[in-house]
Amino acid sequence: MTKKSTTVNRRSFIKSVGIAGGGLLIGFNWLACKRSEEVAVADAALEMPDEWFELNGYLKIGDNGVVTIYSPNPEIGQNVKTSMPMMVAEELDVDWNNVIVEQAPLNTELYSRQLAGGSQSIRQGWEPLRRAGATARYMLLEAAAKQLEVPVEDLSVEDGVISHSGSDKTISYGEIAKAAAEIEIPEEDKVVLKSKNDFKIIGSSRKNVDAKKIVTGQPLFGLDTYKEGMLTAMIVHPPKFGMEFKSMDAEKVKEMPGIKDVFTIDTYPEDTQKQWSDVSAFSKLVVVLGESTWQVMQAKKALEVEWDLNPELTKKIEILEKSAGMGEVSGLESSATHTSLMADVGSKKAKAIRKDGDPEAAFKNAARVIERSYTCPFLAHNCMEPMNFFANVTADKAELLGPIQTPEYAEKTIQSRLGLDLENIDIQMTRMGGGFGRRLYGNFLVEAAVISQKAGAPVKLVYSREDDMTDGVYRPAYHVKYRAALDANNKITAFHVNAGGIKESPLFANRFPAGAIDNYLAESWTVDSNISIGAFRAPRSNFIAGAEQSFLDELAEEIGQDPIQFRLDLLKKAKENPVGENNDYDAARFAGVLEMVRDKSGWKKDDQNLNRGISAYYCHNSYVAQILDLRVKNNEPIIDKVVCAVDCGIVVNPDAAKNMVEGGTIDGIGHALYSKISFEDGMPQQSNYDTYRLIRHKEAPKSIEIYFAENGIDPTGLGEPPFPPVIGALANALYKATGKRFYDQPYISGLQGDLKT
């Protein structure tokens, strides 16, 4: 084995793929002979090659034809670790059974947007991933043409074997990989991507590449990290939002078995250059460090810490509240106050974000105005794998390993916080036991690094479930008021949405039904708080979709129209004669999923036999419509069936996509029905699954049917889009079952009491 050097930094390759043809020489066998520990295909019996040849940052080919494809983005359960490499393999033209998938480390020079968020991995990877595969294929063919001494035009590939059309000559990828690695990287315009009609891997179901490891309990997750000399660290944060550390008596605890040290850290001192992802309500923390998790948990319980009101925080909020005119929020906040405050602020005029026509006049002249308000509580993300991270920080280097959705931002924070150069910070991503937005905010990573630095030892930081659930970064509490003006003929003449929350507004001003109504007003407000918030699966949509779709359902009923036809009529107007210019949806695709779900579900107007709710929503560039059937028994809903129609363009991995839609549907139903975080005097009232209710087996829909639009459009998001609309379908079906409208989440609270079964 020889290692050939190159004068060009090969890390710049992918940028050249993404931006312009590089013409770079690449030609050394990176990681040659390294035995892969990450064999991830279902067939783990693949023989490892003697030598690997890296053709670009996304893949390497072994001398026996085995191909390793690096999956660049974090895996949080959305299955990109399978579907992103599928896109590379498609254009490379290899046998998927010969592919090993490995998680790529953070490498901002090689890859763009190594982030799990916004349902964007597939959409934004669509071009660069296929181009990486196609570029490697081009180089393999060029090398084969040279070796066989035939024109490259006469060569074709199937499953990693190159054939010559004019003879029976063949050459496998494994045989030509070494030569291909020395071929000049082609200019971008020389590499032609496949026609969609020629796809063999994209559009065919491939199983989760980590499934075998998952079902046999092999280490995969951050929490499974155990390294030589590693200590376990846990944190103690203030029990209430609005408090801070005052003092502690740690001497006895330090004497407990296995306990190495107890100290405080300041995660984000003032001079830290924070990224958007550095959200934390509690910067100053107590740390307990020990040999094993149980010992540290016991020490944590025995530790006596005194906390104080955080005067800075209280003062800051009072100033903000006064200046924003949003009423008072005390240093220690309670849900009852939040609810009345939001109702109060939400009843007032707020900042207009979009206005079409003359809504004030239309409301003034209306024959009838229908007004309804909707609310939802804070939610904790509840990834089943609690927050954790491994850190080994030495004087000149930081090694970080664990579950993080935003490694690129975390690296910058670590650079500032620890004063290290970027090249001395190594962040490796583990498979994540759920993300849902929580792991966008890497405070636990920074905490682990600071603890390791202070302890002078490799450390795994572990959050208990209680730490995880009471640490903040919650889905905000929201409030929205809708008003519709009707004329004497029951025609909608104006629509008004006034939306806000603590401390973010859920409003999407340019989303349907904007564009479908002549006189339209969208207003937005926020109320400040010392409770930290963050993105939660389908941020903002996860509330506003259910509210809006409930309101439209009630409007359709008031007008005496079928709720699907009512929406289709509005969409027809938005398509043929749209109001305004910034409407963010495609009315035809939107109508398409409504028509599809109506047809597939056998929807009948005024069906008295079923309690059916309909909903449709657009977010993360995709369209989802759902029809949900339920019964209510003993004050608990039994959901018999959900039919889903989805337009996310080309479906890369159909069975995995169905899994995602099933999961999003169940997750949406569960959170709207059962979940909440509430507060009394700053203290979260739920801290584990005995008090925080998540949906369970019995409560899941008995059947979920899923249909995808087939339109050949480039793929869009899927991790989030099925979640928001089903909440509206649920609320509307609950109304059918009980005769009562549901305005406040979690709906189970409204179900306890007067119902028909």
């Binding site: 949080i76 149980w294 208990s464 569960g670 087996h697």
Partner: protein
Amino acid sequence: MAKFNLNINGEDKTVDVDPSTPLLWVLRDHLNLVGTKYGCGIAQCGACTVHFNGSAVRSCQLPVSSLEGSKIKTIEGLSENGDHPVQQAWLEIDVPQCGYCQAGQIMSASALLESNPNPSDEEIENAMNGNICRCGTYSRIKAAIKAASKSQVA
């Protein structure tokens, strides 16, 4: 600290730990068996499910001092080659999303089929209700248990 003799996946092991240490942390921190997951620590989520003399139990609530003389099976010992009918059904149906809760789900499912090889939908729901999946793979879990049941019965 005290020494405890355990039988885990058919092998005898000795650990020297505090008697109150739950089996979960003995497995993970002391025996390098990390397939059994920590989720809640209060027997509410099922991520830590193992077989205790053949029954599905939450290992976060089993102190090591109560285990002498009993047989413990973890996900790593469910089958030699990952080919237990339940594991095979999980692969065939491609159940996991994030995958974190699945070892616990599989241990609950395999204990259920051991005692009731042909469970009804309701029996499946009851037996599995203690295992939370935040990703929402419940439909597939049920389908996989039915598939495993069929393959065992056949």
